[in-house]
């Protein structure tokens, strides 16, 4: 039996760089595997919800409702597109702006009061400011406005939002938040959560998303005061059930931000990109400084102005899907002004106003003003035009909303399930 050698490493690092490379590779692979699974899980569940949520739009069910077919296709296409934010980050220039611009859920303007407001809806005071998407990934955070342009590029405490190695956020993890940037206190108010830490919430109900938003945002430290690795503060907004007291609180309650109207979210609605009637905006002078649209100089024009998109057959339409037809443009204006299909054009509504037949727009008195501001990505939506029209003629008042809740109250007692306090 030979003597035992007990020599120890001398003046050497214990781990070889090769071993380190091996381990880092394994770490990266495990991370990638986790991300791939995560993605598969999210993708799968969103498709599942889509099918169960909208069985009536299955193409094979009906030959008559032809217009629902493209709608359904578009929707699922949108879903698969939405989910891959990383793919989107490969896009360049104008493409990337267009892509991001389509990712926000855009509330319609409230032109009549929906049923079951107290049972099925949340309400909260919308912060005045720039609506934007905040995306954190790969150790950085970017906010993009509705027109796709970058607002800020900064480190944040959101998962994957800053280059800090802590094991929790992977390089492939990411978050997408629907926010309003409030200039005065330099705060991002999060009004919706679309993806969190690589986990997609597109397919989740607003009820779940708001619950998740409240618990996760706080946990992440994103609500903390700004610091070197966290340039802007994030904050949730107080969300209420839209019963009498909730609506009252949202309307009159004190919040740290300037209000710009009230937002109503249907509790059961998924995060649907583009215009949706399941989220609504409403405002009056008491809760917003910007009830009536202003022009470029910040003044209220004497006549209501609208922005419409020019289609190839000279039709003028809204940004809705499907678009609503407002009229046709004279061929000679097109020629004279060198207009092209897809141009966004500004019009004033003349004294003829808007006329309706059976609740549908029949005629609009449009006066051509010129091309719209280049920063615009979309035409106005139908509900916006109508809301602005009503504000000038017969506005929907807070009392109408309260009355609607009261009358519903008479019929059934409102069950109050979750008290959201932000």
């Amino acid at each position: 039996m030979a003597p035992h050698d007990n020599r120890r490493p001398f003046k050497r690092a214990a781990i070889s760089d090769q071993q380190k490379r091996r381990e880092l590779s394994l770490l990266r692979q495990a991370q990638n595997r986790r991300d791939a699974q995560q993605q598969a899980r999210c993708l799968a569940s969103s498709i599942l919800s889509l099918q169960s949520a909208a069985p009536e739009s299955q193409p094979e069910q009906s030959d008559i409702e032809l217009e629902t077919v493209p709608e359904a296709e578009q929707e699922s296409e949108a879903f698969s597109k939405d989910l891959d934010v990383r793919q989107a980050s490969k896009l360049r220039g104008p493409e990337v702006r267009k892509w991001f611009a389509r990712q926000l859920m855009l509330p319609e303007w409230m032109i009549d009061v929906p049923d079951r407001l107290a049972q099925d809806w949340y309400v909260f005071a919308r912060p005045a400011g720039k609506r934007c998407f905040v995306v954190s990934s790969n150790g950085t955070t970017v906010s993009r406005q509705r027109n796709g342009s970058i607002l800020h590029h900064f480190p944040s405490a959101l998962p994957a939002g800053a280059k800090i190695r802590d094991g929790s956020g992977s390089a492939q993890s990411y978050c997408i938040l629907d926010c309003i940037f409030h200039e005065l206190d330099q705060t991002y108010y999060v009004i919706d959560m679309v993806c969190w830490n690589g986990y997609s919430l597109y397919d989740c109900t607003a009820e779940f998303r708001f619950y998740w938003l409240n618990s996760k945002l706080e946990e992440s430290g994103a609500c903390n005061a700004p610091s070197h690795y966290h340039k802007f503060r994030f904050s949730a907004v107080p969300v209420y059930n839209c019963d009498q007291s909730g609506l009252h609180a949202a309307y009159t309650g004190v919040v740290p931000y300037a209000k710009d109207g009230l937002l109503f979210y249907n509790k059961h609605a998924l995060y649907q990109t583009g215009n949706t009637p399941l989220a609504l905006v409403w405002k009056d002078e008491n809760c917003s400084q910007f009830v009536i649209d202003t022009d470029g100089k910040g003044e209220i024009p004497s006549q209501q102005q609208v922005v419409l998109e020019l289609q190839d057959d000279r039709k003028l339409v809204t940004s809705d899907d499907p678009p609503v037809l407002f009229g046709c443009l004279d061929g000679d204006i097109i020629e004279k002004s060198g207009l092209h299909t897809g141009n966004l054009l500004r019009f004033a509504i003349g004294d003829g106003g808007l006329s309706f037949v059976d609740g549908k727009l029949e005629k609009a008195d449009l006066i051509y003003l010129g091309k719209s501001n280049r920063a615009r990505a979309f035409a106005d939506s139908y509900s916006k035009v109508l809301f602005q029209f009503m504000v000038r003629h017969s506005p929907l008042k807070i009392d109408d909303l309260l009355a609607s809740i009261n009358s519903a109250n008479d019929q059934e007692k409102t069950p109050s399930d979750i008290e959201m306090v932000g």
Binding site: M1, P3, H4, N6, R7, R8, F10, K11, A13, D17, Q18, R21, R22, L24, S25, L26, R28, Q29, N32, R33, A36, Q37, A40, R41, A44, S45, I47, L48, S52, S89, K90, N138, G139, P155, K163, I164, R165, S168, A171, N197, Y199, H228, Y229
Partner: protein, 870 residues
């Protein structure tokens, strides 16, 4: 026939290659034709006193090799072969072996000892050869002394070969009695006493019960301590080896003896011959290891519970121990830094001093500082070096608050010594010490950083200057730079090293081209440092990292320009290629992690891949692990476009998967298959047949190192997720492999290592299930998975009940439950509701403190509630 064996064995040792080859062939043939007769004649040869000693020895060795092998699968085969061998033959062989123990020829006895231990290693666990230990022990009381010596040696080998639970306590007691008596001072024969002392070293693992008995333990300890005072140096050395082993095996029993042991070791360190002194120092290093572990465990849980309490032996011995170790530092050998294999008392003492610092922390500082101050400026280089080494040794352990004032004073001195000291040994240790300063006192752990704007320039200048010094000093300077760079990892968008980045990279590349870069592993150190500098670089220097790509590519290209190489040169070339591929891997991973740099980097992808393929091509038998790792990183960065490389790359991928011998290569390749699956998604389909066949083959092989199996299962998941329902082709095979592995991994009992392995196996299996479920999701073929669901749920129940899964497994397991519900929907609903523990498991995970587990559980809850409600 016996004659024949002798001649053949003699021929097998001939200097004539042809004769030797011929003899080896005949032995092989003989063995294949009639194994029992072959083995019997070998044992007969060994036992025959009339035979020449060389053939007796060789016969024993051939016999031993017929019983044991290094490779696990080969070993297993040999064990089975011996167990099924004819009983008569075995008896004859054993009789010959035992007889040989009494031979007057020492080599024959010693060989027989080893062979007996091998046979015992096979038979005792099967309750065979019950009379062996009895007959060995009866030998001990026999004369002549040489038989006694051989018997004790046999007992030592036997204890090394079999595990303690195979031998009952009664026999253990007898063995220990014989061994300890043999090593006591009353034993007059030196060889017997030495054999006994060495046997005790192996038998210590059997002495659990005896060490719990105060009287027996006192006796053993007394005899061991006495043996450290033997006039025979080999006995003293062996006795100290026993003390070292006792220090780790029976740490908690040492309190009554520690004072005596200190006196014995101190005397040995100061006065005894080096081999003995080294073991004496090792005793204290080993005590440090124990206490560091225990204190670490204390730190990890606030209740202070640990299986073993800390006796603070080091803290108590500190005032005497530290001066003793400091003395050893002055006993350096000339040029020890140039000699890779050097190990002397100064090195052992310095290493121990470092461990002591880690054990006691701040307390060591006042004991060492006077020594440093006294010696650091002395004329004699030994004193300067010892002082520097002492300083470097205590940098890990004490708190930054305690060290920073010292370091702030010392830094300027060190930087000056590194350039100006006339002695290379001092410079070597100085550079090493600077590295330790950067490693343990980096900006993230201290309030006032050691390195400021003011001295950064000087530090870098000195380090880059030292890279031109002798290879050993330059290597240490690279090491210091490595830790300097590491200190700025993830520290923010801007690094103080940015202004020097170009210069640092240039200097490191220059080092790699030094004529003498092969010495003191200088070239390796330079590339490792370059890698770390790249890893820790910030966005500011990304353009410079990009510029490095063509440079390293050119270096790799140059190694491929074919000239005929000797095998020695080829080995060096392969090593260099490994370093360059490793460097490229780091760069790819760095640049691939952010979109803008990845975009620019991709212009090189084709060329880089071309180079990697050529690296593979110039090694005919096996693929290069480093190139494989780099390709994984490249696939990840490239995404689906990687498909264009597959036609050429595939054969090397397959070669890597087939490499059982270098299992690391196989494991790395399995990981790369995962990378490629994620990158290619369904485009990997054309290669799936080949890959899946090979992976299934690997799983069923007992030649493949077990650590590769869990990643293979995970890889199934990666492939399934990538190809979706196309996985149907492999489903049956994969599921059956998963199922049998799952069964194996549910009920386990064993040591920590086995539990850890089992958990990694479970994780692999579960990741496979997840990938398969998610891959089949939304395909019309989901129903194919339904038959497997009950077993999977049972598996989940099983591991939940075992209560020994780690957090990673828990997270993966609850995810699988969700995946199963998500994919099978209503089919799974009732099964999950009926399963024994799904609900408890889910609730446990939902209330877990681990965020990842909680998140997976929340997802699973969502999926299950949907499955149940449909």
């Amino acid at each position: 026939m016996a004659m024949e064996v002798t001649q053949v064995l003699l021929n097998a040792q001939s200097i004539d290659g042809a004769v030797r080859k011929n003899a080896e062939d005949s032995l092989k043939q003989f063995q294949e034709q009639n194994l029992p007769v072959f083995l019997v004649s070998l044992s007969g040869e060994l036992a025959n006193e009339e035979k020449p000693v060389e053939t007796r020895k060789l016969a024993g060795l051939v016999l031993k090799n017929a019983l044991d092998a290094k490779e696990q699968h080969r070993k297993f085969e040999l064990v089975q072969r011996w167990l099924s061998l004819d009983g008569n033959a075995k008896s004859q062989i054993k009789a010959c072996l035992l007889k040989t123990l009494t031979s007057p020829v020492s080599d024959a006895r010693s060989t027989a000892s080893q062979v007996i231990a091998k046979v015992a290693g096979i038979e005792l666990p099967h309750k065979q050869w019950p009379e062996l230990i009895g007959s060995l022990l009866s030998n001990v009381h026999q004369l002549p002394a040489q038989a006694k010596q051989a018997t004790l040696e046999t007992l030592g080998y036997l204890c090394e070969e079999v595990s303690p639970d195979v031998i009952d306590q009664d026999q253990v007691n007898k063995i220990l009695t014989a061994v300890v008596q043999g090593m006591s001072s009353s034993e007059g024969n030196t060889d017997v006493r030495l054999a006994a002392t060495r046997a005790l070293y192996n038998a210590l693992g059997f002495a659990q019960a005896n060490f719990s008995n105060d009287m027996e333990r006192d006796y053993i300890m007394r005899v061991v301590c006495e043996a450290t005072l033997s006039p025979e140096v080999r006995i003293r050395q062996a006795a100290f080896e026993c003390l070292v082993s006792i220090s780790s095996t029976y740490y908690e029993k040492l309190a009554p003896y520690i004072q005596d042991i200190f006196n014995i070791t101190a005397k040995a360190v100061r006065e005894d011959e080096e081999p003995v002194a080294l073991q004496a120092i090792e005793f204290w290093s080993s005590i440090c290891d124990e206490e560091i572990d225990i204190l670490e465990e204390y730190g990890g849980n606030f209740t202070g519970d640990s299986d073993i309490p800390c006796f603070y032996f080091i803290k108590q011995a500190l005032p005497a121990l530290v001066p003793m170790l400091l003395e050893t530092l002055l006993k350096q050998e000339e040029d020890q830094d140039q000699d890779e294999g050097a190990w002397n008392i100064a090195m052992a003492g310095g290493t121990c001093l470092g461990l002591v610092a880690r054990t006691v922390g701040d307390d060591i500082v006042p004991l060492v500082v006077p020594f440093i101050e006294e010696n650091i400026s002395k004329q004699d280089w030994r004193q300067r070096e010892a002082a520097t080494y002492a300083f470097g040794s205590i940098l890990e352990g004490p708190s930054p608050e305690k060290l920073i004032p010292l370091v702030n004073v010392a830094l300027t001195f060190m930087l000056s010594a590194l350039t100006k000291d006339p002695n290379s040994h001092v410079k070597d240790t100085t550079a090493w010490t600077l590295g330790r300063i950067f490693e343990f006192l980096r900006g993230s752990v201290v309030d006032s950083p050691i390195i400021s704007q003011a001295n950064c320039q000087q530090i870098i200048t000195v380090l880059l200057q030292s890279m031109k010094d002798t290879p050993n000093v330059a290597e240490k300077a690279c090491g210091a730079l490595y830790f300097l760079a590491q200190g700025y990892e993830e520290m923010g968008p801007s690094s103080p090293l940015t202004p020097f980045f170009q210069e640092i990279v240039q200097s490191l590349l220059t080092v790699t081209h030094r004529e003498d870069a092969g010495e003191s592993r200088l070239r390796t150190a330079a590339y490792e440092t370059l890698n770390e500098v790249v890893r820790c670089s910030t966005d500011e220097t990304a353009p410079l990292v990009l510029q490095l790509v063509p440079v390293i590519m050119m270096e790799l290209h140059n190694t491929l320009e074919g000239q005929k190489l000797s095998s020695d040169e080829r080995e060096k070339q392969s090593e260099l290629q490994g370093l360059l591929c490793g460097c490229l891997q780091v760069i790819i991973q760095k640049l691939g992690a952010s979109e803008p740099t990845k975009y620019v980097f991709m212009q090189y992808a084709d060329q880089i891949m071309g180079l990697f393929l050529r690296v593979f091509a110039c090694r005919s038998a096996t693929v290069h692990e480093e190139a494989m790792l780099a390709i994984g990183a490249l696939a990840y960065a490239t995404g689906a476009d990687f498909a264009k490389y597959m036609p050429e790359f595939y054969r090397y991928l397959e070669m890597g998967l087939q490499n059982f011998e270098e299992y690391q290569v196989c494991a790395v390749t399995v990981g790369v298959v995962g990378d490629i699956s994620r990158a290619l998604e369904e485009k990997i389909v054309p290669y799936c047949d080949g890959i899946m066949t090979q992976l299934l083959k690997n799983l069923s092989s007992n030649q493949l190192h077990r650590s590769v199996k869990p990643p293979i299962f995970s890889c199934f998941g990666d492939i399934a997720l990538a190809v979706g329902e196309y996985f149907e082709k492999y489903l049956m095979w994969a599921m059956s492999a998963l199922q049998s592995a799952a069964e194996l991994s549910t009920h386990i009992a064993g040591d920590d290592e086995l539990v850890e392995y089992t958990n990694s196996l479970r994780n692999g299996i579960l990741e496979a299930y997840s990938g398969i479920f998610q891959g089949f999701k939304n395909s019309p073929k989901t129903q194919l998975l339904i038959p497997y669901a009950p077993h999977i749920l049972q598996f989940l129940d099983g591991i939940y009940m075992e209560k020994d899964m780690d957090d990673v497994v828990m997270k993966t397991a609850i995810g699988v439950l969700g995946d199963l519900a998500d994919t099978l929907g209503s089919h799974a609903g009732s099964m999950i509701q009926q399963s024994v523990s799904s609900k408890d498991f889910l609730n446990e995970c939902l209330s877990s403190e681990d965020l990842m587990i909680k998140e997976s559980a929340e997802w699973a809850k969502l999926a299950i509630s949907r499955a149940i409600s449909v």
